[in-house]
């Protein structure tokens, strides 16, 4: 049903997979995600639909290895079946001609940023993208982002590529030189927190796409809840995009760490088992 059609490595830890899913390809809009489960012991994890091809009936996911489940997905080869794939989920991005857009993507957050940048550009916006990562090999999709942006600034923490510094420094540079009408922020929680503080300082309306822990992705469990503007919201059905200035990022970061010990243990066990398999 959901066969892997092609696979591409952006780096050792970041893989893009094109997967057969004709219904999802047709129904999806920018900002949507899917829930994916690999193997009968697998967990369900959320991944953004990076692009889709309606004619080929495929969607493309860009996955960064961070633990067991993302690892299992990156280990799928062309021809393998994804055990379970369901979507498209969440609310689509609100797209209109805002004027000038500042699109900020950190790490693997550039993958979900790509379809949004594409749509905003199509809607007539001027798009300035700032993409950032710890080092050169973690910068992904730069060419694709360039295709749909008027300008791209690349930042690395260690200065191994682009400009040296944090994403917020790249953002400030743009904000100081021209008027920004709308910002879009996607990346690790901590990056979104500081990026949101930066745009708030300059009164720039901003949306952030949140990456909370999810179980079902359909509003059934409440694992993904987050406080926005003092109210509890479910990221999977109300989001994943929210007004970045209203999100309680500290609470979100705290909730993301809820299962850290189990995750580390699971990953070690999995690696240990696959190593032994390799030996046998």
């Amino acid at each position: 049903m959901n066969k892997v059609i092609s696979k591409h490595y952006y780096s050792e830890n970041v893989v893009s997979l094109e997967i057969e899913a004709p219904r999802i390809a047709k129904a999806r809009r920018a900002g949507h995600f899917v829930m994916v489960r690999v193997g009968n012991t697998g967990e369900r994890i959320p991944l953004t639909i990076s692009t889709a091809n309606v004619e080929r009936g495929t969607i493309t996911l860009v996955v960064q290895k961070v633990g067991v489940s993302s690892r299992k997905i990156t280990e799928l080869e062309v021809g393998d079946e994804v055990t379970d794939l369901v979507g498209p989920l969440g609310q689509a991005t609100h797209v209109e001609n805002f004027g000038t857009i500042l699109a900020c993507g950190g790490g693997v957050g550039v993958a979900p940023l790509l379809p949004i940048v594409e749509e905003l550009k199509k809607a007539g916006n001027k798009v300035i993208s700032v993409i950032a990562a710890r080092s050169k090999d973690l910068i992904i999709l730069e060419d694709q982002i360039r295709q749909h942006s008027d300008e791209v600034i690349v930042m690395t923490d260690d200065g191994s590529y682009g400009k040296k510094g944090l994403i917020t420094e790249g953002m400030e540079e743009v904000i100081n030189r021209e008027k920004i009408d709308q910002a879009v922020i996607i990346g690790p929680g901590i990056m979104m927190k500081f990026a949101a503080l930066t745009t708030k300082k300059h009164n720039i309306p901003s949306i952030a796409s949140l990456n909370t822990i999810m179980v079902d992705g359909t509003g059934m469990c409440g694992a993904c809840r987050v406080t926005v503007g003092g109210k509890t919201r479910f990221v999977c059905v109300d989001g994943p995009e929210f007004d970045a200035h209203e999100v309680d990022f500290d609470e979100m970061l705290m909730r993301l760490s809820g299962y850290r010990e189990d995750e580390i243990k699971a990953d070690e066990q999995y690696l240990c088992v696959s190593k032994n398999k390799g030996k046998a």
Partner: protein, 465 residues
């Protein structure tokens, strides 16, 4: 008739509270025959009207008495597609058994109809001689079922019998709805549900998982693909919270999340990737079946101390009487007439304490139950490292949101004609929790059957036109 009501053989509380073995082990044939002989085959069997799907109770019970167990199972299946499930989870004490002659007229213990139903259904499952209901020749008309809970399954069974081409579309990766992701193994083993689903498959019902109607495809898309009728049995899957301070701390979770992690994702078994919190001191908020299932699950995950915090008294608890009794036997503490007002976290944002308030019962509210009133100045603190919030669920909004023309109530339930279960859109029928807002397995199944009958009527009239 001087016989006393049979006692269900049970796994001993100390053993079962730490394992996933089914608590009730089922009657032996001798026990079943004896119990069946208590039924006096009333001329006017009041028990039948107590059953939402009107099972011919004396008929199946008398078959058991004669030792015709497979015949008994056949009688059950005439009106109930999931007897092995209902025999286990129906609140019999409020339904069939409450209307038994013994209870009504003699005020003594009713015939154990639920136990007997389970006995006959299990006997049939184990015999391998499962009778598959007769299916009419295909009429080539495609109908879609949205959601694979008991409402959808019952609807599908009846429509298949009538010769329709039935496809069940389910959002999750497993078939069964709450029967799979909600009710735990120690009360309703998944394998029991699977046998019943297999029967439907043999009747020609098709299943498609990972399909969210309203997202993966809309009703309009499905109409274009040739579906002529829709039954919505999408359930009441959304967890409610109380909106009190600290509810988003790590370690505070909904019973849906807790039970889904374990029952659907297998988080309590070795080798599964999905984790679950294993608290030492677990508090469960609420008094329904879901709360009982959560608190007893916590015990089985190795908690040292488990408590129910419920704002009314034991008498008002909506849970099945048997579940409350089992929970008490297993050592669950019941803090009734208590209500949480705040969760207190440690410096890492993890819950460590609950501020609780004592309650007393005041005047009856709209549900007829006496409503709880807070006692001023009664607040105190208890320790808890895991809190499971089990204070009710709301209708699943995904499908209604995708159909702006569909009439829904203030509470988000789909509005239907009470006689036909037809919604404001003629080719869409609905039943179960999405209409009732949280009820029981058997009521959901009754709705499924009723909707099948009226959709058949509707589609027959359509083709005549």
């Amino acid at each position: 008739t001087s016989l006393a009501r049979v006692k269900m053989p049970e796994a001993p509380p100390i053993e079962r509270a730490r394992s996933y073995v089914e608590v009730n082990s089922g009657l032996t044939p001798e026990q079943a025959i004896n119990e069946a002989s208590r039924c006096i085959d009333c001329a006017n069997p009041t028990c039948i009207s107590g059953c939402p799907v009107e099972i011919n109770i004396p008929k199946f019970v008398k078959n058991i008495e004669r030792g015709e167990f497979l015949e008994a199972a056949k009688v059950l299946k005439e009106t109930n597609a999931l007897p092995a499930v209902c025999g286990r989870v129906c609140p019999q004490e409020k339904q069939c058994e409450a209307s038994c002659f013994y209870q009504l007229k003699l005020n003594t213990e009713p015939v154990a109809i639920g136990y007997l139903e389970r006995f006959a259904a299990d006997f049939e499952q184990q015999s391998g001689k499962i009778s598959i209901p007769e299916v009419a020749p295909s009429n080539g008309i495609k109908v879609a079922v949205i959601g694979s809970g008991p409402a959808g399954l019952a609807f599908a069974g009846d429509m298949a019998k009538l010769g329709y081409d039935v496809v069940i579309l389910e959002a999750l990766h497993e078939i069964g709805g709450v029967l799979k992701y909600g009710i735990p193994e120690f009360r309703l083993p998944n394998s029991i549900v699977d046998v019943e689903i297999e029967s439907l498959r043999k009747m020609g019902v098709k299943f498609e998982t990972n399909f969210i109607v309203g997202k993966t495809a809309t009703i309009d898309d499905l109409r274009e693909e040739g579906f002529k009728g829709f039954f919505v049995g999408s359930g009441a899957g959304l967890p409610r919270f109380m909106n009190i301070p600290g509810e988003n701390l790590v370690g505070v979770l909904s019973s849906n999340e807790y039970l889904t992690r374990i029952n659907l994702m297998g988080a309590s078994s070795q080798g599964m990737d999905t984790p679950v919190v294993r608290g030492k001191k677990v508090a469960v908020i609420g008094g329904g079946n879901t709360a009982m299932d959560s608190v007893r699950t916590a015990l089985r995950l190795g908690a040292e101390k488990v408590s129910i915090i419920y704002r009314r008294s034991l008498e008002e608890m909506p849970a099945r009487v048997e579940e409350v009794k089992h929970a008490q036997e297993e050592g669950v503490e019941f803090l009734t007439l208590n209500n949480p007002v705040e969760y207190i976290g440690d410096d890492k944002g993890k819950v460590k304490q609950i501020r609780v308030q004592r309650m007393e019962l005041g005047e009856p509210d709209s549900s007829g139950r006496r409503s709880p009133v807070a006692v001023d100045g009664s607040e105190y603190i208890i320790d808890a490292d895991t809190v499971v919030v089990s204070v009710g669920v709301s209708p699943n909004p995904i499908l209604p949101q995708s159909l702006p023309q569909l009439k829904v109530s203030r509470w988000g339930t789909i509005e239907v004609d009470p006689d036909t279960l037809q919604s404001s859109i003629p080719d869409i029928f609905a039943g179960g929790d999405i209409v009732r807002g949280g009820a029981t397995v058997i009521l959901a199944m009754g709705d499924g059957r009723k909707a099948a009958a009226s959709m058949h009527q509707y589609l027959t009239n359509q083709t005549k036109k």
